[in-house]
């Protein structure tokens, strides 16, 4: 049963990815991304990472993606300019992708991963994460806030510029 | 009365002058020239004293100064001179002094010219006195900077091309030397301290070489690297193509320095570094080096014959003459040839300096150097013709003048080891005689060219620069012992070391 759900989420994650990359309609691409992100959230939940799964839905789907879609719909619609990549470039890309994919698949299957058996119900993680964020990872947490602050300032600067530019 | 640390004073005194020149206001160019001249006189005096006081029988280094410089790399500030360095230092001091006088007519960017010239002076003396490989390398490279600007700013029409070509060629050689230097550093362990060393006297001791530095391939490659570096400087054919360009475009005084001193650094480097550090390879490369020397002799002479530009002619004659040095240095079966080679280094320094100064004189007046456009100048400028005649005869090796002795020594010595090469090299002398005499005829004899009939005679200042050189040429032609005395003991030691 779990395997079936797992496979469904996998397909939900991967198939729309092709749409994102290949579609020439940006709205379609954005909506496909939504499904992919949802699939990833499902995978998190299946792995027992309830907190991350929920955050994934709230932040990525609820926040970022909606913003992207708004942005897309409010600015420009219609066909994207087709990228003009020459055949040698495409070929090179395909070969490189193939090699990396093969290497990843091989290493994923061959490696002796240290696997711990999970017993019984998965535990809720939010409390543990909270402990870590205020304990071991307090300083990184604060550093991330400095990063966000500085990034915010930079973003304001760039936004201010484009407003003034009009 | 001599100061302590004589060599340091001699090396860095010009640099002090250069520093002083930077603070002279722009409107006093003569003051700058005066300072430059003043900065070259004490070193000349000290060099002369050095010459007198140098112990001719000692084989070790004299006037040694050694203080740690960079402990992390075991680099020392290490100066000292032996019989090979003394004539070179003397030549450098003399030519620097003369060249400052010869540069008196420089009126463009005076400050830069004389400051750079003095920097060049410092680095040249440094090369001849350094006994630490690292220091040698620093001075060796330091020379490139002023030279680049001196050719590039004050040179002739194609100065930019000539300057960069000079720089690129020399740098190829020196980066190879850098790699070899580091290989030697890591390949040696100073027995007293257990540290790696750049000390040339220690590196010359074959027993400090580590196992990997004993491998034939490494040694062979190291020697090749050094040899290319020095051969570019000498320059041996086929590494010579920078030389004609640099000589032709450089201002007179710089041509003098280039031909008179810089070329000697190549052969000096071989004597100071290649031979002591890799004596076995020196033997192995001897025939190759002698062959390149021969090729340079013949090729240089043939090219000189084809030139119409006086400066180019002298440039090619330099290649030919330096070929004799290389040939003489490649002989280890006797000390005659190598003595002749070092004497030739000194003699070529004086003779070529005269030649370039003389070309400078005529170029300043006529603004061309085309051999065929002159004619009958002997009538217009008899004194000038006299000086030129002396220089030409000296250059072509007329008995009684200095080059004859050195070339004869080289040929006599090398005949014992390389019969065919030596016999072929003699044709070089004939060719040299041919092109110098032919040039002489075209410039000074024959019908007077009316266009140049009223060229002024050589000035007192110009004569003053030429006279000391002329005296040396004549003196050493009759009695070469003043130089041979100096170098004999050291060279005997060198040959003994190479032969092993």
């Amino acid at each position: 049963m779990t395997d079936l759900i797992f496979n469904v989420f996998i397909l939900l994650t991967i198939i729309p990815c092709f749409w994102v990359a290949l579609s020439s309609n940006i709205v379609h691409a954005a909506f496909s991304l939504l499904i992919t992100l949802f699939g990833i959230a499902g995978l998190y939940v299946l792995l027992g990472a309830d907190f991350i799964g929920v955050i994934q839905v709230i932040v990525y789907i609820g926040g970022i993606l909606v913003l992207i879609i708004f942005g897309v719909m409010m600015t420009q619609r219609g066909k994207l300019l087709p990228l003009s990549i020459q055949l040698p470039g495409k070929l090179f890309g395909a070969v490189l992708t193939g090699v990396i994919l093969a290497a990843l698949l091989l290493s994923a299957t061959r490696t002796l991963w240290p696997v711990a058996a999970v017993l019984g119900e998965p535990q809720l993680t939010s409390a543990a994460i909270g402990d870590l964020l205020l304990g071991k990872y307090l300083i990184p947490f604060e550093i991330a806030s400095v990063l966000l602050l500085a990034a915010l300032i930079g973003a304001v600067l760039i936004a201010r510029r484009s407003v003034r530019g009009e | 009365m001599l100061p302590d640390h004589l060599l340091s004073w001699m090396i860095f005194f010009p640099l002090l002058g250069a520093g002083l020149i930077l603070f002279v206001p722009k409107r006093y160019p003569t003051v700058m020239k005066g300072i430059a001249l003043a900065a070259t006189i004490p070193p000349l005096w000290w060099a002369a004293n050095l010459y007198v006081q140098f112990d001719r029988w000692g084989t070790g280094f004299q006037y040694v100064e050694k203080v740690p410089w960079i402990r992390a790399f075991n680099i020392h500030y290490y100066l000292g001179i032996d019989g090979i360095s003394v004539p070179m230092v003397l030549l450098t001091a003399l030519l620097s002094f003369i060249c400052i006088i010869a540069s008196w007519n420089i009126n463009e960017h005076v400050r830069g010219y004389f400051a750079l010239f003095l920097l060049l002076d410092t680095s040249m003396k440094g090369v001849f006195c350094a006994l630490d490989f690292f220091m040698f390398y620093v001075f060796w490279e330091l020379m490139l900077l002023p030279m680049y600007f001196l050719i590039g700013i004050w040179g002739g029409p194609r100065k930019e091309y000539a300057a960069i070509k000079f720089f690129l060629f020399t740098l190829v050689g020196s980066v190879l030397m850098l790699v070899v230097m580091l290989v030697f550093y890591f390949g040696s362990v100073e027995p007293a301290t257990g540290l790696h060393s750049f000390d040339l006297t220690i590196l010359a001791d074959q027993s400090v070489h580590q196992a990997f530095l004993r491998s034939h391939t490494i040694r062979w490659l190291c020697y090749l690297g050094l040899f290319i570096g020095f051969a570019i400087k000498i320059p041996l054919v086929p590494f010579h193509t920078w030389l004609p360009d640099a000589h032709v475009e450089a201002p007179t005084a710089i041509s003098v320095i280039l031909a008179g001193i810089l070329l000697k650094m190549g052969t000096y480097g071989i004597l100071r570094i290649s031979y002591p550090l890799l004596p076995d390879m020196a033997r192995e490369f001897a025939l190759f080096a002698a062959t390149l020397g021969l090729i340079s002799i013949i090729y240089g002479a043939l090219c000189a014959m084809a030139q119409t530009d006086l400066k180019k002619l002298i440039a090619y004659s330099s290649i030919s003459h330096m070929g004799f040095v290389m040939l003489g240095m490649s002989v280890f079966s006797n000390t005659t040839a190598i003595n002749g080679a070092v004497l030739q280094m000194f003699n070529h320094g004086t003779v070529t300096a005269m030649l370039f100064l003389l070309v400078g004189v005529i170029y300043d007046r006529a603004h061309i150097r085309d051999i065929d456009s002159f004619g009958g100048l002997a009538k217009t400028m008899p004194v000038y013709a006299g000086y030129t005649g002396l220089a030409f005869f000296a250059a072509l090796g007329l008995p009684g003048l200095s080059s004859f002795i050195s070339e004869a020594l080289v040929l006599v010595g090398s005949f014992q080891q390389y019969k065919i090469i030596t016999i072929t090299a003699t044709t070089g002398i004939i060719l040299t005689a041919a092109y110098f005499l032919w040039t002489m005829q075209r410039v000074f004899l024959g019908p007077q060219n009316k266009k140049w009939a009223d060229l002024p005679e050589i000035s007192l200042r110009e004569a003053f620069t030429l006279t000391p050189l002329a005296l040396i040429v004549v003196l050493l032609g009759f009695y070469p012992m003043p130089v041979l005395d100096l170098i004999g003991a050291t060279l005997k030691h060198t040959v003994a070391m190479v032969v092993g």
Binding site: R110, P114, L138 | A72, L142, K159, E160, V175, V183, F212
Partner: protein, 497 residues
């Protein structure tokens, strides 16, 4: 319920991140001044605040205990060794020089100036954290702090399309490569079940014995390289470099070329030496068996320097030219990493210090000439030597130092790097680097030639203010001084490893 020991650990470790705290304080102060005192928005005020913050950030260092290789703090997230200790003043100097350069050249508009200083301080903080991190999570956070904020810095100049384009390119390449690196991190995390480098290194040493695990390690190494080679602008992730360097404001370019690049190299040392190398004896390391990454890097190094130097020959824009030169220098620096020895590590650090002064110096001159009425094109340097001798002599010295000619500091740096590879008997790389030096001579000399050997095509008088001259002097002194007597710095770097 937070475990007691974490509170303890955080309280004890807080003093070790004193520099970062002071920088954060300075950031907040600048922000407040900018918001609360709108009439005080003078450049000089922000400059003073920022420089004071950077200078103040190194003060706590002397109050802290002696660094030691195994002294970790904040729950093993950071390590307090000599590399950490000395990197902090290094990055503070990078920050100070950048701020001063923006101040004297006036390249950034007044309206953006306070934000610019904030971003520079924040990136500096990120770099300081990065070099101290020994935990994959912290490394990535610091890496992105440095990365994201430098994208913003590149695009900071308003009304300049080039700046925006450069920023976008930087973001795209940066996001791709750091994402790849993160994937590599996740692979190692999966293998070791920990983000702590020490724990991972034990697992890697163990896993490398098993052939079936080796592929994963190779993939991880290659993915790490993506992020690191990007930050250091090395082949094959160097394409962004010329465009970004050209488009960014010149002081920011100077900042990028020494700051994040240096941080990238320190990260190289932090990641590759503990994880994929084992200490053979005290001075030599060996690559973990079965993973011959030094050979790959040696090849990358040779290609990077050759590519950078060859491409630089054709550039007419000085910033582009210096960008390619900076690629070439990344290639030289990789030689130190490749040599897998203490000497190699020392040579990297030594070269970075030297490179800081000479490269910022070269960019400073470009910025000064551009702001004094010239341009960034090589044409506007024709005959400049006669019109602005001081600046041009300084430029010549920086360029000669970049070539690696004595008696300038760049020469000593190169000797260090050459020594490192020759020490490990990688002779071919030394010869390639030596020949590259000759190639590089050609294009650096093009600038020198334009300045001194050619006649001016225009007669604009270049006036360089006194403040710029003083800044140049401050850069010249170490460039010359370290070339003549570098024993003090040699002692410092010898003590590090």
């Amino acid at each position: 319920m937070i475990p007691e020991n974490f509170i303890q650990s955080n309280l004890q470790g807080i003093s070790f991140i004193g520099p970062e705290l002071i920088l954060t304080l300075a950031i907040l102060l600048i922000l407040l001044v900018g918001v609360l005192l709108p009439y005080w928005r003078h450049r000089i005020l922000f400059t003073i605040l920022a420089v004071a913050g950077l200078a103040g950030s190194v003060l706590p260092l002397w109050k802290l205990p002696q660094p030691a290789p195994d002294l970790t703090y904040l729950s093993n997230l950071f390590v307090w060794d000599w590399l950490t200790f000395l990197s902090k003043p290094f990055f503070a100097v990078v920050g100070v020089l950048t701020i001063l350069l923006t101040q004297v050249t006036g390249e950034i508009d007044n309206s953006e100036y306070s934000e610019c200083t904030i971003l520079v301080l924040a990136v500096t903080m990120g770099m300081m954290l990065l070099v101290a991190s020994t935990d994959l999570l912290m490394i990535y956070l610091a890496f992105e702090t440095m990365g994201i904020l430098s994208y913003l810095l590149v695009g900071i100049r308003a009304r300049d399309e080039r700046s925006g384009e450069a920023a976008l390119k930087y973001v795209l390449y940066g996001a791709f490569t750091s994402g790849t690196m993160l994937f590599g991190f996740s692979l190692l995390f999966g293998l070791a079940g920990s983000t702590d480098l020490l724990a991972i290194s034990q697992k890697v040493a163990f896993a490398s014995q098993h052939p079936q695990d080796r592929l994963l390690l190779i993939v991880a190494i290659l993915f790490f390289l993506a992020g690191l080679l990007f930050k250091t602008a090395s082949f094959p992730f160097h394409f962004w470099c010329p465009d970004v360097y050209e488009g960014a404001p010149t002081p920011i370019t100077a900042f990028l070329s020494v700051g994040p690049k240096a941080a990238g190299f320190v990260l190289f040392i932090r990641l590759f030496y503990p994880l994929f190398a084992t200490g053979h004896d005290a001075t030599i390391y060996e690559a973990v068996s079965g993973l011959d990454w030094p050979s790959i890097l040696a090849l990358v190094s040779a290609i990077t320097m050759t590519l950078g130097n060859l491409a630089a020959i054709h550039q007419n824009n000085l910033k582009r030219l210096l960008a390619y030169s900076s690629i070439a220098h990344a290639g030289y620096l990789l030689m130190g990493i490749v040599s897998l020895s203490d000497l190699g590590l020392r040579s990297v650090v030594f070269y970075l210090v030297v490179y800081l002064f000479m490269n910022v110096g070269a960019f400073a001159v470009v910025a000064m000439v551009a702001s004094a009425g010239g341009s960034e094109e090589i044409d506007s340097y024709r005959g400049l030597g006669a019109r602005a001798p001081y600046v041009c002599v300084a430029m010549a010295i920086f360029l000669f130092s970049l070539i690696g000619l004595p008696p300038f500091a760049g020469f000593v740096g190169k000797v260090y790097l050459f020594a490192a590879v020759i020490y490990k008997k990688i002779y071919w790389l030394a010869v390639v680097a030596a020949l590259n030096t000759v190639i590089s001579l050609y294009y650096y000399l093009r600038i020198v030639k334009a300045m001194f050997l050619e006649k001016p095509t225009e007669t604009i008088q270049i006036q360089v203010p006194l403040s710029s001259r003083v800044l140049l002097l401050a850069l010249l002194v170490p460039t010359l001084g370290l070339g003549i007597y570098w024993q003090p710095l040699a002692r410092v770097v010898s003590g590090m490893f």
